[in-house]
Symmetry: C2
Subunit: 271 residues, 2 copies
């Protein structure tokens, strides 16, 4: 899993107070969820005294919490404010009934993700206790080219985003990850044509993902939904209709005009 | 639902830049999730020019996002950072398999909540499509005295917190909400004795909640788990064992020594 915010390497000192506050928040990551004051200062590129003052203010408000071990963690209040992001919990609330239906129907992993720049961000994941293990994490990131949801989000992203991804190296996560840009172009064209992505063993050799686009009120693709099943013996064809139906249901809940119309175009092309 | 951050009333101007940044974030709430620049400035008690500059910095970092309607919303990146809060998604990740088991077993609403001051904050909710409607929201708040999870969290809260709640008015949410402090004291003692709270019609006359405590690595109560079912015809006795077992499972996953021991004390007292 990639992470935008690192832990250790010292950075150029931010020049505004807002920049310093944001640099302090950026010091935290999944791998560095609890930090000492000096680690925060180092990561944010701040003198210890400045870090001390700002961390104190952030703690007073509840953006950070200080543990009994003296280290700081992200506070509940920042999570609450973050939960107001329409692309996280707002989307999740609308999508949840459909995710739950899909979870009930498949008894596997169900994921909802959005694109941020050239990465996938997972906003929800339901995992059946007996489902194949997945490596995504709510709030975590993955590269677009390697995951089912990422391929969907990339296929429907603005051309500039697609070119940016296609121009950069495509890191392999497994021996089956697509790393050839011509092959990726073909995959993206197929995703646009068929309205579904099937990524087999690209994140982890043992799992296969079937993903479909979720559209918003202007019919642009705002999210992607996937079901992740064991790769061995998987029959994507048996999962595709359920994933596509749920994605369409969420699109309708989000106000997508296309999801209200009688299916045509992409779907008819397959008949 | 109560909300810590309001929308409209202008406030005293914050005196530090950090305070101004936090006042901007505080302007957003579930009822005011999309705000114009002038609404942000008014709510944060800032001159428009100051708000404009700070909002620009926050938007550049991804803490806010500007919509096509020109209004600002909380950004995905702030949600990602917030998701690092150990009391939100960290707790949720550990608890999720047990929440899913309980959801499978009951086909009702399953909730996980923590206490923040004198309020309940919901960190997860799974709702079966056919379950009774609940009024909680992930990231939302409720008063402690009126909800099953709240009564559990209050029963095991430090004495000072209990006294603070008991000294203040107990607002009724329905005709069945406990509003008498002596009655609430009796309820809390029963919750401590039995390790479970049953709140019938206290948030909404149609629903009944069965809640149990979740303990952390020092055996302190760190969260509460509940199942919410229709009040009519509910048989709490049939739900209590499942809720208690799941709460114990989560406690064990969190490293609670008590949840690793053979049941005694509270449980034995009921035999």
């Amino acid at each position: 899993m990639t992470s935008r915010s690192g832990g250790d390497p010292p950075r150029a000192a931010p020049t505004t107070v807002t920049g310093r506050v944001l640099a302090i928040l950026s010091a935290f990551s999944a791998d560095a969820a609890a930090l000492s004051l000096s680690a925060i200062a180092r990561s944010a590129g701040l003198p210890l005294s400045t870090a001390h003052r700002l961390v104190g203010e952030l703690t007073g408000w509840g953006a950070l919490e200080r543990g009994v071990d003296g280290r700081y963690r992200i506070g509940l209040r920042l999570w609450e404010v973050g939960a107001l992001a329409p692309r996280s919990l707002g989307l999740r609330e609308r999508a949840m009934p459909y995710l739950e239906d899909l979870y009930e129907a498949t008894r596997q992993n169900v994921q909802l993700a959005v694109r941020d720049g050239t990465e996938v961000v997972y906003v929800e994941r339901l995992a059946h206790p007996e489902a194949v293990r997945v490596f995504s994490r709510v709030g975590g990131r993955m590269p677009l080219h390697a995951t089912g949801v990422g391929q969907v989000l990339l296929a429907f992203a603005p051309p500039a985003v697609q070119e940016e991804v296609l121009a950069a190296p495509l890191p392999p996560l497994t021996s089956k990850t697509v790393v050839d840009r011509h092959e990726l172009r073909r995959i993206l064209a197929a995703v646009r044509r068929e309205g579904v992505a099937v990524a087999d063993g690209m994140v982890d050799l043992l799992s296969l993902s079937v993903a479909a686009p979720v559209r918003g009120e202007d019919d642009r693709v705002v999210a992607a939904l996937s079901v992740v099943v064991p790769s061995a013996g998987a029959e994507p064809r048996s999962i595709v209709p359920a994933v596509r139906a749920a994605a369409r249901g969420i699109s309708r809940a989000l106000g997508s005009p296309a999801a209200r119309r009688r299916p045509s175009g992409v779907l008819a092309a397959q008949v």
